[in-house]
Symmetry: C2
DNA sequence: TTGACTTATATGTCTAGACATATAATCGTA
DNA sequence: TACGATTATATGTCTAGACATATAAGTCAA
C-alpha cells in the first residue's frame, strides 16, 4: 500500500528538484531574469544536503536553462531561439521511421588522386588520394536523396578496399571511424539536368542541399553532399525537447 | 618558475579529468566500445575522491560521449552524426555578425479572426484572433529574408497593441514571452512572383524556407515562415563543438 | 561623486565516507 | 545442457562537512 499522497518514489531526489525547477521555468512561473532560490533555501525546502541541490542546479546550468553567478545567485535565462537541435538522421533510419522501405544503389565509385577541386572541398592542402562515390537512397523505390561523397584515403585508408555496392558509405564510415566532428551547411538550389534525372524530378524543381564536412582531430575524413527533392523532404529540429 | 611539465593548474581537477578522457576519445585512442577505466582506477590515477571522477564521467555521459552501465563500466559511444546543433541566429545578430548593416521593414500587419488555414498552421482547434505580420529583413539594403508570421492572441494578447513598425516581431516576442519551445522545419522552394519581388530575385530562383512553430507548455504562441534566397544564404551547424 | 579598499556571501570544487541498485558472473540444480 | 538462484561489483545517489573564489555591497577617503 502506498501513502495517501502517492509517494511516487521512483525518481531520485536531485532529479525531482531539477524537474520541479524546470517546470516552473517552462510554464513561465519563473520568468527570464528571475532569481531562483539560493542553494541553502532549496536545501531547507527539500531537506537534503547542498551537494544534492547543487547537482540539480548544475545540470540546469549545463542545459542553459539557468545562469549561475557567484555571490549573486542563479537566474532563469532568456529562451534562446537561435539554437536548435537539428536531427539529421541516418538515411536508412530516417526512411524506415517513415514506415517506408529503404533502398540503396551505388551509382559510381572512383579511386583517384585529388584534384584541386577535391582539395578545396575537403579543406586539405597536400595532394593525396580519395574515393569519390555517387549513390542514391530511395524510399519505396522512389528516389529520396542522391549522395555525392569524397573520402580522404590518407585518413581512412581502409575505404579504398571497402565494398560500397551494398552498404552505403555513410554507415560504413560510422562503423570504421572512431570519432568525428562535423559541420553542416544547408542551402537550396534548383535541379539541373543531372540532378533532375537522378531524383526523378523536373529540371528547375527546388532541391534542399545538405553538405557535411567531417573530420577527426583536425584530420579531414569525408565531405558529403546530399540532395533532396525540396518540396517533399523536411528537416525537423526541436528546441529544448525534454 | 613552473615545473618542467608545466603544471597548468588553471582548470579544476574534474575538468582536467573530463578533458583528458574527451581527448582520448576524440583522437581515436579510445575507440567506440572501449571500456574506459573504472571510477576506482581513475581515483587511483588522479589521487582524488570518487565524487570528483564521478562528476567528470557524468558530464561525459550527459554529452553522449560515453555510456555508463552498472556493474559493467563506462564505454565510449559510437559517434552520432545524426545530431547536430543548428544555430538559427536572431536576424539582426546574424546580419551584424557578417559585418553588414541590418535593416527592417514592416510590409503588412493585420488583426483578424483565425481562418481555417491559420488554425491549421498554428495547430489549434478553437477559433480565435491572430495578428498576421509580413516583414522584410535586409543586409546593406539588400533583401536578406522575408518573414511571414502569425501570433496567437489568445496566448499573447499584448501583441494586438504592439508596434511592429520599428521592432521586428521576433525580438518583440523574445522580450514579452517568458519561455518557449520551438520546432523548426527546413525545406526548399522556388520563388513565385510575390516571393521573387520581395527578395529581389528571379522568379524560379531557389529559396530556403525555415518554418518555426513556437509554443509554451502546450499553448501555441507563434508560427513563422522565413524565406531566404537559397543560393546566397547558408545555415551552418556544427556537431559536438567543444 | 568617484575611486579604492574591505567584507560578506553564494557558488565552485572537493573529501571520505555511506547505502542503494542493476547486472555480469558464478554456482547449483534439474 | 539449460535454467534459476546467489554473489560480487561498478555505478547511482546522497551526506555533512571543508576550503576556494568571484563578486555584490558596503565603507571610507580624496
Amino acid at each position: 500500500m502506498s501513502l495517501a499522497t502517492d509517494a511516487a518514489d521512483k525518481p531520485t531526489l536531485y532529479k525531482r528538484i531539477r524537474a520541479d525547477i524546470e517546470k516552473r521555468i517552462l510554464t513561465g512561473e519563473w520568468p527570464p531574469g528571475y532569481r531562483i532560490p539560493f542553494e541553502h533555501e532549496l536545501v531547507a525546502r527539500y531537506g537534503c544536503s547542498r551537494m544534492t541541490v547543487n547537482k540539480a542546479l548544475s545540470e540546469l546550468a549545463q542545459a542553459d536553462l539557468i545562469e549561475r553567478r557567484r555571490r549573486a545567485g542563479s537566474f532563469v535565462r532568456r529562451p534562446q531561439h537561435q539554437s536548435a537541435v537539428l536531427k539529421i538522421a541516418d538515411m536508412r533510419a530516417e526512411i524506415t521511421a517513415l514506415g517506408r522501405t529503404y533502398g540503396y544503389e551505388l551509382i559510381g565509385r572512383k579511386l583517384r588522386a585529388t584534384t584541386a577541386a577535391d582539395r578545396e572541398r575537403l579543406g586539405v592542402k597536400k595532394a593525396g588520394k580519395v574515393v569519390a562515390i555517387t549513390c542514391r537512397h530511395s524510399a519505396d523505390n522512389v528516389p529520396f536523396a542522391v549522395e555525392d561523397r569524397l573520402i580522404d584515403l590518407s585518413s581512412v585508408p581502409d575505404a579504398a578496399s571497402a565494398d560500397f555496392s551494398r552498404e552505403p558509405p555513410g554507415s560504413w564510415l560510422l562503423h570504421h571511424v572512431p570519432w568525428t566532428e562535423a559541420e553542416h551547411t544547408i542551402s537550396a538550389i534548383v535541379a539541373d539536368d543531372r540532378t533532375a534525372e537522378a531524383l526523378d524530378i523536373a529540371v528547375g524543381a527546388p532541391c534542399l542541399v545538405i553538405e557535411r564536412y567531417t573530420w577527426r582531430s583536425a584530420r579531414t575524413i569525408t565531405a558529403v553532399r546530399l540532395l533532396y527533392p525540396g518540396d517533399s523532404h523536411r528537416l525537423v529540429a526541436r528546441f529544448k525537447g525534454g
